[in-house]
Symmetry: C2
Subunit: 204 residues, 2 copies
DNA sequence: GTCTATACCTAGATAGAC
DNA sequence: GTCTATCTAGGTATAGAC
């Protein structure tokens, strides 16, 4: 998607440093809220130097979003239509939760984008994402028809998995505020809770 | 919370017009992304006139957030510890979903705020919200101990209700992109799905 | 490749006429 | 109370030296 023409090692390294800093700042403040000053400081580079590597602030943002989509859809692609239905779905939930735990900034970048209308990624949502979800929904419906899981609306099942797993990354501040300090990592509790929730829903 | 000193009718009306316009713009673009020009246009007033009614952009935002919290917590407060446990919880889910359907802008305003660190409302989260959730969690734990619902982590149960209901407002764009045009209202499907989901989880 | 200096614009807020 | 005009800060991007 993003072309990555041959570069020197130092160029590669700086590009990655900048994208890391940009992810940090964009995910916390949104596109408009982020400033090049903040990104430059986080990257340890000067502001003009950022613009030597990327033509504009917009270009940094696009590079991040383009790289993100594949990572984000990987767990869903990994769902095996030939596997044991309940295991496959619980495995998907687990992998998606780990993704939220390990990549919260990516999750928030994505959430910011959707929340604010998804202007930049709507084509991907209506194309690549919809196609993948349609395929997966067909698999799940098949499992339900065969009686291997309880009858369920496959689309809302998938939405609920997204909502629940991403909530722990995107609303992390609220989760921690409510749980208070000194509790276990919210993700541990979530992992157990979600396994129970979907087992009960889907066991025939 | 927000003091509303005696005003003329026209003042009241203009304040409300402005807040409505501000909600529209803030919820779509976030605080930083919103501009006074946009709000002024949405309100049909001039930019300086906005600042006659509110001392600053920040003040508009605070007025919205202050008014929002009560509305947002009302369905949880309405949960009756003396009621039939499953009915009470399913009723809460239903009311919360209706709130998302009927007040999506408020939901997104709140989501933007949490997502970006909740600087302005963290005290409320750690105070009023935590207290209310702690109380409700105690009630739910009691029900579980008495065997009136299945054993469940009450905090994660509440988080999951928030995540699922708000998802349909906050990620509306994504939901509609995936479902495609011409389908039923996502909220109808969600209502049925969530009732099933929580019935199965909580039935002893 | 990286810096300093700066151009240029957008956007929040104010002054003052009406 | 509402407007036009304007001030000012901050932010993106560029020029040009090193």
């Amino acid at each position: 998607m993003t072309d990555t023409p041959p570069r020197t090692r130092i160029q590669q390294r700086n590009r990655e440093t900048i994208l890391g800093a940009a992810l940090e700042v964009f995910s916390q403040h949104g596109f408009r809220g982020a400033t090049l000053d903040q990104i430059a400081q986080a990257a340890g580079l000067s502001k003009p130097n950022l613009l030597y590597y990327f033509p504009s602030k917009e270009a940094m943002h696009e590079a991040l979003l383009a790289g993100l989509m594949d990572t984000w859809l990987a767990p869903l692609r990994a769902l095996d239509p030939g596997g044991e239905p309940l295991d496959e779905i619980l495995g998907y939930v687990h992998r998606k939760l780990l993704l939220s735990r390990d990549f919260p900034r990516e999750s928030r970048l994505f959430a910011n984008e959707i929340l604010q209308g998804a202007e930049r990624i709507r084509p991907t949502l209506e194309g690549e994402l919809k196609t993948l979800v349609d395929q997966t929904a067909a698999v799940i419906s098949g499992w339900a028809r065969e009686g291997r899981i309880a009858p369920v609306d496959p689309y809302h099942l998938i939405f609920s998995i997204w909502a629940l797993t991403q909530h722990y990354a995107d609303f992390d501040v609220q989760v921690r505020a409510v749980l208070g300090p000194g509790k276990d990592d919210p993700f541990d509790g979530a992992d157990r809770y979600l396994a129970t929730l979907f087992s009960r829903l889907l066991t025939p």
